[in-house]
Amino acid sequence: MKKKLISTLLAAAMLGTMVAGTTVSADEAAGDNTYTMFMRNTYVNWIKELKWYDAAEEATGIHVEYVEGPDEFSDVYAEVDQRIISGTLPDATMTKLSQTNVYGPQGAFADLAPYIEKYAPNLQKYIDENPDYKALVSDENGAIYGLVKESPIFQDFLGYRADHLEKAGIDPASIQTVEDFTEALRTLKDYYGKDNPNYYPLTGREGVFRFAAWFQCLSDVSAEASHGIYMSHFKDYSFDIMSDNAYTMVETMKTWYDEGLIQPQFAEGTFTEGDWEADMINGNGTFFYDYYNRAEWFMENGGPEADPDYQMAVLDNFKDADGNVIVGAGACKYNEECVTAVNANCGEEKIKTILTFIDYFYSEEGIALANYGVEGESYEVEADGTKKFIADYTTEESKPEGEKKWSFLSDRFTVCKPVDNTAFFAWNAPLIADACANYMTEDHIRTGLNLTYTAEESEELANLVATVFDAEVAGMTSFVTGSKELNADNWSAFQDEMNGMGLSRIEELQFEAYNNTYGE
């Protein structure tokens, strides 16, 4: 009897343990002034620290309960799929446009168009005033399944150790072209490399093919043609291997590699962010071309502690042979990877709540709050009507994790809202704010274009890009590092191989999408 009892309990326990993992707790019922939203965990943590966000919830009387997702973007979107499969999608979700374009018409996400008209007058006004936005978020029937986040338009900056250049006798103003730059690298290598075998004047992290703008061989798309991979690479790792200038770029990078002017592991693609940061702080590097505010980051994160003379600066864009400024690759106005979609199971009241909250950020009051904060606390209005931050950037951004602060780094996702570029650039330490004022201008940046793809085009393009992009990078890396001899024949064979793998088809699809988006 005892044995039977023990066996029964054991079996029940095993069964219970097994099914425990498969049970899903029901979502808590939420009142009309709250809604749940699935979002990348980094952004949720970020939102929790923002003073202006709390002020927005207070102003609208609406509270958003965030459901934290993973950290990696691709994992976030994979979890959206899993939540759709398991029926555990919260009221709203962070997703990407390619997902809303497919799942929206199938019925997973609510068509927001009629509700925006009814409950979100400011957002409706924004849509009407921005036909490019309307074209991007609406399908052929005028349905809107996702709201896209606006993004600041910025390019990468060429940051450098000003103290290094000074000691090596280089005048930064003399570096006007890529040729000048290469000469400066040589001078620095001679000066610092003789005592330090680990010194390489140009360093960086992860992908090395970030210099295409300097050689005027960025991937692009226009009414005439499409060149290179533009989808997802209009800014980062944008290049067109079919351009003659791309050959020059690889040739120049090979020179840097052969002469020890570029950190070899960076050129080979094995230098991590940590390696790069350590190199820059320890004096093993002088130049880098990276995210616009990284020069300030080094000033705040150990540079001056490692060397009292440590001083970062930012160089202007290079000029071409005719003395014209070479434009850098800029972000798109709309970030298609940060989209808010609403669960189709939401009732009208819930959709109204969600849209009311988002709509606030399209009102004058909401725009001012999200970009500048509260008057008298984080900003003041000048005599000419312009807003000026009074909250100190360094003090606020260096507050410990989890502490409430003023912060206006609008490149991150909080809610879908318009971005004031002036405020975004002004909210930086003087080093970067000054550089932004001078170099984040229209004549310095090529703004990325948002293209509208059909679901079929998007699928085909994504699959081709998954293959061709890595193959292009691998091929160019082998030329730079000398694994493959760089000559006209090998380069031409490489181009043919990439076209055979689908590069030309990618260009065709991008060109079609351009015409569908911007054509007559």
Binding site: A11, S74, Q82, G207, Q265, A462, A471, S483
Partner: protein, 322 residues
């Protein structure tokens, strides 16, 4: 005769129908069946059930429409595989890695077990066996980090030795030619002790009288290894070989992703990394169906190989797995 017929009639009358016998058996052994239930459910839910999900290889799968309502496209995804110009490259890389794994990784635990068996001191034997088993529990991330540290061009032990001898640092992790040896090295390091357990267990089951008789006949250590130990564990070796062939297309994805960089794409891009990029790292809408089709085809080929090796083993070594 009449008696026999009578017994047959009585036996037929006593023999109960199948449902009745099942019912009786269930009643008698219900506790055992109850204990079996979680295992069976787990097998159905997590092993057999998901195989049904592979049907998405024949569909244009949408997570929202699900397996039952997604559009049926028949063999379109499979046709795409044969048209995909990149497939031959990743299949080639996968096969080379798999062949290296079988040719290099498979025999090493056998050799290790044979040599370990020759160690007479028990404590040394058990210590070496335990130490060889430990790396099995180290994650791929830690393994690859250790490799990166050892091979670092600026501070790694290997490059320090190269420089000490007057050589020039080599970034081994960025050399396409070094990717496969590095992968195989990690595979050996990680699985050596675990795989050896099976052979050591088989060796321990060999009748000691065979060795004693061989010694009487004047056999030396090598004779005993090649004429007694190896033939006696050949069944285990063949079973392990068949299992290894079944896993021929299964590479360690975590390890490869961690060792992946643009310099080694030429040799490191394999079927799994390609499927991962398309299905899970997609820049557009993820193509789960195509990824599943590639994996399904891979499984079918692996199954055919296992069947062929099983037949060959039966024919030449009179041993088979199924």
């Amino acid at each position: 005769m009449a008696g026999k017929r009578k017994a047959a009639v009585v036996s037929a009358a006593n023999k109960k129908s199948l449902p009745q016998r099942i019912k009786k058996d269930l009643k008698r052994n219900w506790i055992l069946y109850l204990l079996l239930l979680p295992g069976i459910l787990s097998l159905i839910l997590f092993k057999i059930g998901p195989v049904g999900g592979m049907v998405i290889a024949f569909e244009k799968f949408s997570a929202f429409q699900g397996v039952f309502h997604s559009k049926w496209v028949g063999l379109d995804n499979f046709a795409r595989i044969f048209k995909d110009p990149y497939i031959p490259k990743v299949v080639g890389n996968t096969i080379i890695l798999a062949v290296l794994s079988i040719v290099v990784v498979f025999p090493i635990p056998i050799i290790f077990s044979l040599f370990l068996n020759e160690v007479k001191q028990k404590w040394i034997k058990s210590t070496v066996q335990s130490l060889s088993f430990l790396p099995y529990f180290i994650s791929a991330a830690v393994m690859v980090s250790i490799l990166y540290t050892l091979l670092s061009p600026s501070s790694g032990l290997v490059n320090n030795i190269i420089r000490w001898f007057g050589g020039k640092s080599v970034n081994f992790m960025a050399k396409p030619g070094w990717f496969r040896p590095e992968y195989v090295l990690l595979e050996v390091w990680q699985t050596l002790g675990y795989s050896a357990i099976i052979y050591i267990a088989a060796i321990n089951n060999i009748d000691q009288e065979l060795y004693e008789a061989a010694e009487v006949d004047g056999a030396n250590r090598w004779d005993k290894i090649f004429r007694i130990t190896l033939p006696c564990i050949s069944t285990s070796i063949i079973v392990m070989l068949i299992i290894s062939v079944g896993n021929i297309f299964t590479v360690n994805l975590d390890r490869i992703l961690l060792m992946y960089n643009p310099s080694v794409y030429d040799t490191a891009d394999v079927i799994q990394t390609y499927v991962y990029r398309i299905a899970f790292e997609s820049k557009g809408f993820p193509d789960y169906s195509y990824g599943t089709a590639v994996n399904l085809l891979k499984s079918v080929i692996a199954f055919a190989l296992v069947t062929a090796v099983n037949k060959l083993a039966d024919k030449f070594a009179e041993t088979r797995l199924f």
